[in-house]
């Protein structure tokens, strides 16, 4: 019993289909609990009023936007080293989810920033690096779509993902250097004094776990779709050959 047996598409589909209902239900439940708790049962912040509640969408989305790329990096590495097709397809499946998360984070950030900072957009390091991350996702998805041969596409996008990671990290520090901005630092950590108050952080943790499970469910679902799409392609090719 090792994790590599899930590289078998049949085994992967079989298991993910059994796991997915649990994932969907728990993700939905946690997101519903977290968001409802966050939106309706937390006090208004004494300075920010009720706009503080955007945090329950903004932070989990931003968290998953970065982690989705990280997951794509790991999946790409697995594809490059061990050449398991499911891994490459999982990376492909994660990218659109990742870009949607990035866009949610950008959009909710803009909606939050307008009343708080008086501007929809500022060329702040965090904001700018997220915009650049969105560009990376765009390029990655476009490259997948542009290449016909699936193995070539998987190879090329995997290397693009590796190179992109290096440059994404580099851009992060570059924009940091370029402009010190409005966005506050990280406000959730175990040892810092300047944390978000418990009343906010508890539903926030629920939301973050919910978003994480939702991402996992989406990736399983989309990977399954990719596997089936590839099977259909193979079947049709065989049919054409026989005809």
């Amino acid at each position: 019993m090792s994790i590599w047996e899930y590289a078998n598409p049949r085994k992967f589909l079989h298991t993910s289909e059994r796991v997915m209902p649990v994932l969907w239900v728990s993700a939905g439940l946690l997101m519903a609990i977290g968001l409802i708790w966050g939106f309706f049962f937390t006090p208004d912040d004494y300075r920010q009023g009720s706009t503080v509640k955007i945090i329950f969408l903004h932070v989990p989305a931003a968290l998953m936007a970065i982690n989705a790329w990280f997951m794509m990096l790991v999946a790409s590495l697995i594809w490059v080293v061990r050449r398991h097709h499911v891994s490459a397809l999982a990376a492909k499946a994660a990218a659109p989810v990742g870009i949607v998360m990035t866009l949610i984070a950008l959009a909710t950030g803009a909606i939050w920033g307008q009343p708080m900072w008086g501007t929809w957009w500022a060329w702040d390091p965090r904001l700018t690096s997220f915009l650049v991350l969105a560009l990376f996702y765009l390029g990655y998805i476009a490259l997948w779509e542009a290449i016909d041969n699936p193995d070539t596409a998987a190879d090329l996008t995997a290397i693009l993902c590796l190179v992109g990671t290096v440059f994404a990290v580099l851009s992060r520090y570059a924009v940091n250097f370029w402009n010190q901005g409005l966005h506050q630092g990280a406000s959730l950590s175990l040892d810092e004094k300047e944390n978000v108050a418990d009343a906010f952080s508890n539903p926030l943790y629920v939301c973050m776990i919910g978003f994480g499970l939702f991402f996992l469910a989406m990736v399983f679902y989309r990977t399954g779709t990719e596997i089936r799409a590839r099977r259909i392609k193979a079947l049709m090719a065989r049919q054409r050959q026989e005809a």
């Binding site: 390029g139 490259l143 542009a146 570059a174 250097f177």
Partner: protein
């Protein structure tokens, strides 16, 4: 390797059009800027370093899809791949040839265009130095993009989409160094970062480009 470099240079010069095209584009971009932002000389002086950097970057981008596509079409890329020279060396030479035919003329033209943008006097030196340090990185990163899209029909647009985000750090540090130089501030930090990016990219990127090219030639 030298033979390959000379061949590429000769091709670039003789093939007509391609060689001067980047320069002409650089000129056009620079001339268009005062039309779009207005001709106040103070404003132009302030944005001149950034505009010169952006113009150089765009002209560099423009010439990228010719970098490998011509060799791909006539099959010489396959020959080069099977030649005793390692593919990493081939892409390095290609990037070098691209820099000599595109990057270097841009660097030399930048001061001339700086006059059009009312660039402050002390800025000329730093624009020149920052471009000299930064354009090799643009060429090398661009070679990676060109290698990624070499087999694709009409890969030019995709190429710019892929390469643009990779250019972000180089552009930030390069333009920042030029800007600080033009304003008479200390330039060491961005300049060193820029040099670091160029050196790192020149050292590592050919491996990625060669890997990608091998996949595309398979």
């Amino acid at each position: 390797m030298i033979a390959l470099l000379m061949r590429d240079l000769r091709l670039a010069v003789r093939a007509g059009g391609g060689f001067g095209l980047g320069l002409a584009f650089f000129l056009i971009v620079t001339v268009m800027v005062p039309f779009s932002v207005g001709p106040e000389s103070d404003l132009l002086a302030r944005i001149a370093p950034g505009v010169l950097w952006l113009g150089a970057l765009l002209s560099c981008l423009l010439s990228l899809d010719r970098l490998l596509a011509l060799d791909w079409e006539d099959g010489s890329l396959d020959l080069l791949a099977t030649a005793p020279l390692p593919l990493e060396a081939v892409v390095s030479i290609k990037a070098l040839a691209h820099w000599i035919t595109t990057g270097l003329p841009l660097v030399l033209a930048a001061p001339m265009l700086g006059v059009l943008l009312n660039l402050p006097l002390e800025g000329f030196k730093w624009v020149l130095i920052s471009l000299l340090l930064g354009t090799p990185a643009l060429s090398v990163i661009g070679t990676f993009g060109a290698a990624l899209t070499v087999g694709l029909k009409r890969g030019g647009l995709l190429l710019s989409l892929l390469v643009m985000p990779l250019y972000v750090p180089t552009l930030i540090f390069g333009a920042e160094a030029a800007r600080r130089g033009a304003m008479g501030m200390v330039v060491e930090t961005p300049l060193l970062m820029l040099a670091g990016i160029s050196a790192g990219v020149i050292a590592l990127m050919p491996f990625a480009s060669a890997a990608v090219l091998r996949i595309n030639l398979r």
